[in-house]
């Protein structure tokens, strides 16, 4: 400090300092009486110093604060220690301001207490902001209390300082119990460590946290709680702790669990599905496929999911799939199709695929389930081939049946109510193709034939097929006669075999019928021929014997016998030759005459033959030939042909049903009635008898006249 400056008393300097501060100050003596006020005080209260001295200052203190203020002030004089006192002080304009009054004891250099010096600090603003803060906190607390979630607040050390009503209710707490409440004891033992670690970390780093834990509620039940907490700072920037929100996620967790279980079940189903399953999104991209599908498509999860059919499959295959997908979307019932796919095993697989739309918030998905029916398909293809083969064979057999020259008949029941035949069979029976030819059928009465065996008509149930089907035994080589209503007859040779069902019972029969009518006729003709031959041989021998005995009756002179006998045999032989040429069917009378007269060629000019063409039967022809031979022989020996001038006229006419044959000799030597009847005239008479006619032989003067008349239809 400079010594040349005017020196001021210490007291004066202090007064100047006190006045220079902007803060009201005052001092009191040991007797509590105010002894000094600086200018800022008197300026603030706007009262003269005199009024403030002593206990006057207290009049400025707000009446509500005054009594306690004065009392506290007084007590400090007992301790003589520094003190702090707050009160409201009336300003000169009547408004009150909060002041903190700091009292510092004054002591003499000897240390004797001489009162307090007081400094007043205006804390009005401080007080106001504190009140505002309190109000905000109250509102916050109110909000917290009524919030529909669980809220809490901790201090910087993690100690719980606030639990809202919801959280208190969760634990069943009254607000009083709060300071001592150990909430950590309610954490599920398995979650404690995790929660502690998270909380410690949040406190240490003064940051927020998000954790899930199981917390026991007041009923002892663990609930899934999700906690979100934020760090909480004071306006000063001091870390105050954490403010957290607890949300009960139990229901959601349960729903999630149920969903997860459902998804697990779905996954298991898909995994064990014997077919393929997949889902595509609305853009045709695979969003799910089961393992069978991955295998069949030859794709891994990465290769398939997110890709479309076009990305994975050949163009035609993809197109096929796309078109079927589109069909599935058109129809509410989905689409059931067969799809073909070359699979990773190198084979073309066929699957029955059910495709269906799945409505989804992200658009309509397409679901697909496929069952591989390749084996089935192959079997079907094979069956189709077999069927075709079978059909061809049947057609061949039917063609064969129709081409067969024999009748084939089939009955398909034991009663043979329907018998169908091949073409030949139908035409054999004069029926249209496809007719039911059964005599035990519904239209049996309309059939145009009857069936006989050995001259007896068959009872319909005894007919070969009916009998075979009834008895179940085959029939071989029987014959039957079919007589048609038009009178035609037919002989059939039949063989019938029964048809057996799988259980061994008879289900019908098959018959083969051969028309043997012609063969039968041939046989009959052959038999007739043999009979005829036999008859003729015997007959001829009988005739030869008769010729011999008759010739012998005429002469026993060998030479004459021989000549006559040989001549007659020769005539017989010529007649036979002629008949053989005509197949023994009869000969023309003119031919017969010519043959009979052929040994008499020399007399040709003397013989005249005239007559119409008339057929003579074999028996009569032989007799007539012998008759003509006898007449000609006699004529040559004794009659008209024994002279060159003689003539023989042979003529026949047809009169009604009769033939009249005339032998007339003229110009020969005179003839007379013979003494006894010769062989010739007897033969003529016998011939007439044989032919059913009449004969006359006259021995006229100019020659023999013989007439033989017989009916045309004679034997």
């Amino acid at each position: 400090m400079p010594h040349d400056s005017p020196e001021l008393p210490d007291q004066l300097i202090l007064q100047h300092i006190a006045s220079a501060t902007a803060v009201p100050m005052w001092a009191s003596g040991a007797d509590q009486q105010a002894i000094w006020f600086n200018k800022p005080w008197t300026d603030f209260v706007g009262r003269p110093l005199a009024q403030e001295l002593g206990s006057g200052w207290a009049e400025n203190v707000q009446p509500d604060d005054r009594e306690s203020c004065v009392a506290q002030y007084a007590t400090h004089f007992g301790t003589r220690e520094a003190f702090s006192l707050e009160f409201r002080l009336r300003r000169h304009d009547g408004a009150y301001c909060w002041f903190r009054n700091l009292g510092v004891p004054m002591r003499s250099p000897e240390g004797a207490f001489s009162g307090y010096v007081n400094t007043c600090i205006d804390i009005t603003e401080q007080k106001r902001s504190l009140a505002a803060l309190r109000e905000t906190e109250d509102r916050m607390r109110l909000m917290s209390e009524s919030a529909p979630v669980m809220l809490w607040m901790s201090d910087a050390m993690g100690k719980c300082v606030h639990l809202n009503r919801r959280l208190r209710e969760f634990w069943g707490l009254s607000s009083d119990a709060l300071p001592d409440y150990d909430w950590r004891g309610n954490i599920h033992p398995d979650d404690v460590n995790q929660v502690d670690a998270a909380v410690q970390k949040a406190l240490a780093s003064r940051s927020g946290l998000t954790i899930q834990m199981r917390l026991r509620d007041h009923r002892g039940e663990y609930r899934f709680i999700r906690t979100d907490a934020q760090a909480h700072y004071a306006p000063s920037g001091d870390f105050l702790g954490l403010i957290g929100v607890n949300i009960d996620m139990t229901e959601e967790a349960r729903a999630n669990q149920a969903l997860r279980r459902s998804e697990e079940r779905f996954a298991r189903f898909m995994h064990h599905l014997p077919g393929l399953a997949w889902i595509k999104d609305d853009a045709g991209r695979y969003i799910f496929a089961n393992e069978a599908a991955f295998r069949a498509f030859g794709s891994s999860q990465e290769q398939l999911i997110g890709r479309t059919d076009d990305d994975i499959f050949p163009r035609e295959t993809a197109q096929q799939f796309r078109e079927n997908d589109a069909r599935a979307h058109k129809d509410a019932g989905g689409a059931r199709v067969v799809e073909a796919l070359w699979q990773s095993d190198g084979l073309l697989h066929h699957s029955i695929v059910s495709k269906f739309a799945i409505p989804d918030p992200d658009g309509v998905l397409t679901g697909g389930v496929a069952i591989d029916v390749t084996d089935h398909h192959a079997a079907e293809t094979r069956i189709a081939v077999l069927n075709e083969d079978l059909k061809n064979r049947l057609e061949e057999q039917e063609a064969l049946l129709d081409a067969l020259p024999v009748g084939v008949f089939i009955a398909r029941d034991r009663e043979c109510t329907e018998i169908l035949s091949n073409k030949t069979g139908a035409s054999m029976l004069a029926l249209p193709e496809g007719s039911n030819v059964s005599k035990t059928g519904r239209n049996a009465g309309a059939l145009p034939f009857k069936v006989y065996s050995g001259g007896q008509e068959f009872a319909s149930h005894e007919l070969p097929m009916q009998r075979c089907a009834r008895l179940g035994t085959p029939i071989h080589g029987e014959e039957m006669e079919v007589v048609f209503t038009d009178g035609r007859t037919m002989t059939l040779h039949e063989s019938v075999s029964p048809l057996f069902a799988g259980n061994g019972s008879v289900r019908g029969c098959v018959g083969v019928f051969v028309d043997i009518t012609e063969r039968k006729q041939t046989e009959r003709q052959k038999n007739l021929f043999i009979d005829e031959l036999n008859h003729r041989v015997k007959n001829t021998l009988a005739i030869v014997q008769s010729i011999a005995s008759q010739t012998l009756r005429q002469t026993n002179e060998p030479k004459a016998f021989n000549s006559a006998f040989v001549g007659r045999l020769d005539a017989l032989a010529r007649a036979h030759s002629l008949l053989t040429t005509a197949l023994w069917q009869g000969v023309d009378l003119a031919d017969l005459v010519a043959v009979a007269l052929s040994p008499f060629e020399n007399f040709k000019g003397q013989v005249a033959v005239q007559g119409p063409s008339i057929v003579i039967r074999p028996n009569g022809a032989v007799t007539l030939a012998l008759v003509l031979h006898e007449l000609a022989t006699n004529a040559a020996k004794y009659g008209a042909l024994s002279t060159t001038s003689g003539k023989v006229a042979i003529a026949w006419i047809k009169e009604g049903g009769s033939i009249s044959l005339h032998w007339s000799e003229t110009g020969g030597p005179p003839v007379g009635e013979p003494a006894r009847k010769g062989f010739g005239s007897r033969l003529i008479a016998a011939s007439a008898s044989q032919l059913g006619g009449t004969a006359n032989v006259a021995y006229a003067q100019d020659g023999v006249k013989a007439t033989l008349a017989f009916p045309l239809e004679g034997p």
């Binding site: 009988a542 005739i543 007897r682 016998a686 011939s687 032919l691």
Partner: protein
Amino acid sequence: MGVRGARLILVEDEALLALDMQDMLEDMGCLVVGMAGRLDDALVLAETDFDLALLDMNLGGARIDPVAQRIAARGIPIIFVTGYGQRTLPPGIAAPVLDKPCSPDALRPLVGAILEARHAP
């Protein structure tokens, strides 16, 4: 009565055989009182008076049966003659059968026996 003078009819469709048979019978002393070669003629003949009938079993393909039945009905004996082994007699008739050509040695004893038996007392 014996063979001699017995009245016989002969039904035979072969003229030459009929002649020969007639001669044989007449050689035996019989009288051939009628001959026929056709069935209708034979039926007429069957009604005439005779003691024995020789009948060809087949006349131009027609069986002699109606004639034989008529004669049998009259109680007159019959001898059948057959040309080709036909052995089936007309129903209800019992009579001997001879094969053609028949010899006098076969015919004679048969005719004799029948005629003797017929008129035995």
